[in-house]
Symmetry: D2
Subunit: 379 residues, 4 copies
Amino acid sequence: MSSELGNNIKVSIFGQSHAEAIGVTVDGLPAGEAVDLDRLQAFLQRRAPGRLDVSTPRKEEDRPHILCGVLNGRTCGAPLAAVIENANTRSQDYEQLKDIPRPGHADYTAQVRYQGFQDVRGGGHFSGRLTAPLCVAGGICLQILERRGIEIAAHIRSAAGAEDRPFRELGEDPETLEELRRSPFPTLDQKAGENMRREICRAREQGDSVGGVVECIIQGLPAGLGSGMFGGMDSRLAAAVFGIPAVKGVEFGAGFEAARLRGSENNDPYRVEDGRVTAGRNRAGGILGGITTGMPLLFRAAFKPTPSIGKEQDSVSLSAGEGRKLVVHGRHDPCIVPRAVPVVEAVAAILTLDALLDPPAVLPGRLRRGGEKNGDRDT
Amino acid sequence: MSSELGNNIKVSIFGQSHAEAIGVTVDGLPAGEAVDLDRLQAFLQRRAPGRLDVSTPRKEEDRPHILCGVLNGRTCGAPLAAVIENANTRSQDYEQLKDIPRPGHADYTAQVRYQGFQDVRGGGHFSGRLTAPLCVAGGICLQILERRGIEIAAHIRSAAGAEDRPFRELGEDPETLEELRRSPFPTLDQKAGENMRREICRAREQGDSVGGVVECIIQGLPAGLGSGMFGGMDSRLAAAVFGIPAVKGVEFGAGFEAARLRGSENNDPYRVEDGRVTAGRNRAGGILGGITTGMPLLFRAAFKPTPSIGKEQDSVSLSAGEGRKLVVHGRHDPCIVPRAVPVVEAVAAILTLDALLDPPAVLPGRLRRGGEKNGDRDT
Amino acid sequence: MSSELGNNIKVSIFGQSHAEAIGVTVDGLPAGEAVDLDRLQAFLQRRAPGRLDVSTPRKEEDRPHILCGVLNGRTCGAPLAAVIENANTRSQDYEQLKDIPRPGHADYTAQVRYQGFQDVRGGGHFSGRLTAPLCVAGGICLQILERRGIEIAAHIRSAAGAEDRPFRELGEDPETLEELRRSPFPTLDQKAGENMRREICRAREQGDSVGGVVECIIQGLPAGLGSGMFGGMDSRLAAAVFGIPAVKGVEFGAGFEAARLRGSENNDPYRVEDGRVTAGRNRAGGILGGITTGMPLLFRAAFKPTPSIGKEQDSVSLSAGEGRKLVVHGRHDPCIVPRAVPVVEAVAAILTLDALLDPPAVLPGRLRRGGEKNGDRDT
Amino acid sequence: MSSELGNNIKVSIFGQSHAEAIGVTVDGLPAGEAVDLDRLQAFLQRRAPGRLDVSTPRKEEDRPHILCGVLNGRTCGAPLAAVIENANTRSQDYEQLKDIPRPGHADYTAQVRYQGFQDVRGGGHFSGRLTAPLCVAGGICLQILERRGIEIAAHIRSAAGAEDRPFRELGEDPETLEELRRSPFPTLDQKAGENMRREICRAREQGDSVGGVVECIIQGLPAGLGSGMFGGMDSRLAAAVFGIPAVKGVEFGAGFEAARLRGSENNDPYRVEDGRVTAGRNRAGGILGGITTGMPLLFRAAFKPTPSIGKEQDSVSLSAGEGRKLVVHGRHDPCIVPRAVPVVEAVAAILTLDALLDPPAVLPGRLRRGGEKNGDRDT
């Protein structure tokens, strides 16, 4: 029950970091949607390790193999399944972790929950590697959304204490978003990116790691998506984003800052522009009462620093019941935030498509008789 | 699909602010659990309006009437249903809002989604009043948890910019938590509370409103609760907390601050204490890999300022398609944060009990033959 | 988790036979749908006890009180909640059943599962009385469907061994269905109905009871509803129908008879009629591969004889661990089948509306921008 | 949403008959369970085509490749994924079916629903071939259940009009069940099996096909499993069994026959035997009020005759909108019932394990503190 996402499309992630393979099934994807494998691969490349001087030297092809659900380049209505082989694994690095858990990792909690049966190699099912199949699902959803004018992009809002400028509340122009997608270290302000990278390198040199904040924007969303209370876009997105390993906080629009504002500062006054209802600012982050306003949906996710650090740490031997010094070996990112950027976009894409597939809040008076106009295609 | 919470217990909220009644059904509550109605009422009183100089003068009894699911003072295994009548409604205050939506409210998004059929009176189903039945469900769950040594409490971490001290990461003593529960304006530091109240009053005098942050602690949780990815305690709790109206951010443990820390500062080093594995600090907020560590679970929720303010605001007439000045009448809290405190506790209690009812991660080798020892009760 | 039905609309039943009330919440009903309370009441009357010489003399008003979810006679998008008070209860009839379970009832299994905490009065949550709120939900769904040209009706296909003629596979004319709905003992062949009633009376005189089969037809369904495997209309309908107390079998189209046919007899050959694809017969019962064909959907449900009989039966004392003779007192239908007819229709209506609200299998290329044409209503 | 099964364990089937592969993911399997691949293969062999003179000559290895979720021969708590390659496909047989649908198949309904994007080759996702991964999931569940004394077996109750004797209501001895599992054409009465095979061959010679009924028994179940209304074991099992292609009816215990019995004949009188509550007969099929009684759970599923027959049939050209004669080529079973036997067992195993993992109806008073006794294993 742990690895499934979505109400209308069901994204189900499988695999362990050092199992034979990792992968994903997506049930409920609309049929007839073109899947561009090259663009999907390019999207996955953004998450892949080894692309940056600031990430882990482990290199994986991360090339998904689509087993079913796509026919002649289009989704066919049957569940899609995609598999990524785990080629480049070095399992010997992880042997001791079952007894001496790494601080900040799931080693200890998994041991308690699964009573020693869990796969500890590379973090097992808790590894950040599981975000690769999530990106396969998300990358396909992104293509479906883009054809309908919905754009999703994210950047590194902050890392190691250095800050990028925030997204403009009223939206960014498409070129800016496209540039972010092309960048291996996506920031809106290049200078900010350089500061971040310098800080990340410094931490790595000291055998340490840093965290950061990813900010995501969804543009072109229709108003009226999502519903009240626990069906809200914020509820659903937050649940999904907290499913990404290392996320410790999620906020929408003004977020925690809203708690420091007055109502007169935080309310977005409405106005009419080109015959459409809009607002002059977007503190709400595009969501009111759980429902989209039609303005850009904006949210941020806080990532903790990579728990695997080179420095010696205090841990315990679970079998001996006493303290142990621990030095974590293996290959690790000093900061996973740059690679988390497409993962956040992927999750946003899945949840956005999922919400688009929600049952209608008002049912049309006249039903379309299936079969009347055979072969009728809207796409 | 909007108003339901939980995987194992299903909490379903119904009602509109000015409908005949609001209420809740809870399906899947364990049988045999005593329900103390006086304690439940006392818990609800903490959320009730009109208790504070800083809240709305609308007074409601908020007395839930349990229709079924309880027999001789104990849950009987059948769904519990409870109803609260809406007595003190003044619907005429809300007539114009269907055409001229209040900034910061769900008026506009509900209008788009429900195409004019929604109940706008008092915010309808989007009203904060719907947190009363949520507290009925949560209050019952709290009683079930307390009998098993699990304690939940929350305080106002900040309001109107004034700050209370945070909860101690390693836990608070029971008396402190009990004191918070007794206080109409629960802060750990009395002075901080006074500052907050002063600021809230000032905002009200200016026809404005303020927001704040509620911090919640869950103590006595067993380690090993929740599971990876989207089954994590953080995912599940966050989805629920964002279902509370006005929440714009949720964070666990160090939260957004973790993004500014180094791994060596954010990892909680393990140690053995009295034969148990624990840690000297709790930046993780009691969750690693989505699974509880056995240390206190700590999270914070950011509430935006009440959108209903006395000041004149810019809005639009949806029918005329042009701008309008709007002054919101009616009775409103200048700050809903004090009343949100028990609501956060309620949600935490529901989700905690829900997680306790998760299927076991490891199945016992020998099944209990139901019927062998009839009448065998563990409670 | 036990008392909830539906994927898109969530029908949640609550109450025990002798609790203060029984009721239902329906989350996810489309907004803007007129609810005709008189027609709803007329529908409920068909299920109500005491209407027939062959049913229990217990009389209940079964008048649902709608607490919320309906505004000015139309659904408003918020969950609908309806309550029926339990007025006419005689709980003393049931005292001994906790120790000496009635054969054929849930007394024993509920005792094992709920360890004595369950409400045994009148069967508690397992009572057939819980079908009244199910009919409230179903009756509202029926009105929504009828406005869209979908008609649902059922009849007593057999009772006490006497048989009515089956529904015509290609559909019945509306007058026939209307007549069934008006009849207190709905059969297509009046003579068959008289035979059944005679047999039922004979069984009652002998302190015994009888079962029967209800057949249901859904006409006017579009083709293309439902999906493969576990999303099939048959899977979903069967799960719901088995939720009605006393159902022991469900079959679609030719059903168990299909197992005795050859492929050449059971396949429905296609033909074109008035430009539409149809078939000259309907052994499939309107479902192929879980998806509706556009022909009438036909299914039957087998109801066991009422387990409460006047004859002395063998049971056991659970406390003493030895045999006991049992004579069941109280008021009971010698045959619940006539009253089950509208319940089957109700369940069919809920599941049909639920399927109509399924996400589209093919997503339109152009999204409707919510908010562009405000107030646009399709109903 | 169509291809997923289970509340606590989530079985998700993927693949099309002629896609590169078919497979299954199982999320929520308890950790620490041994998976015997040889026994799993032997179980799958029972479903595999080409094993009998009465089945299709298409031969497939049906050798599942487990990608993850199993470590050192035991489940590790992470989702299990298994893939079966589709080697022996002859897709040219199916080209015309998109325009001229086969009667009795999902060709037409899938065309309406998926608007021509569906994979028609070999029936696509609607193919009986998808029951192979279902058997992978079920075969693993069977092993878990057997270790806990729960046995599941099925036989051909009838085929082509010839009848086997029914299972004994009070249970069969283990040897009988083991013999059924070893038989390629499992009947309790050998003579009956011979009659069936003769009739099946006769139908095949005439270019026709036949259906049949599979009966399944679950022995060793604890009493108290499942819950009322829509959470009943019957509801949940029926939904799953109707997900098997070609099933048109499901009944429990006396089933449709119960509708012809009197209460005094259908009620199972209780008695005490060896200190346990039991009954002298089992018309209920082991379920009362949706909850298991502790007696054998018995159900039957009716399979329609294979729709693919050699005889010429009437169909239509969807593009031309007029009638066409159709002769179905390809390799097809004249009767799929023998191969359906392990599929029914598989579904029963999945749903039984799923119910065993239901939340407890009564919560223990004292919680097990995870982490107190590390490494404590119950299996």
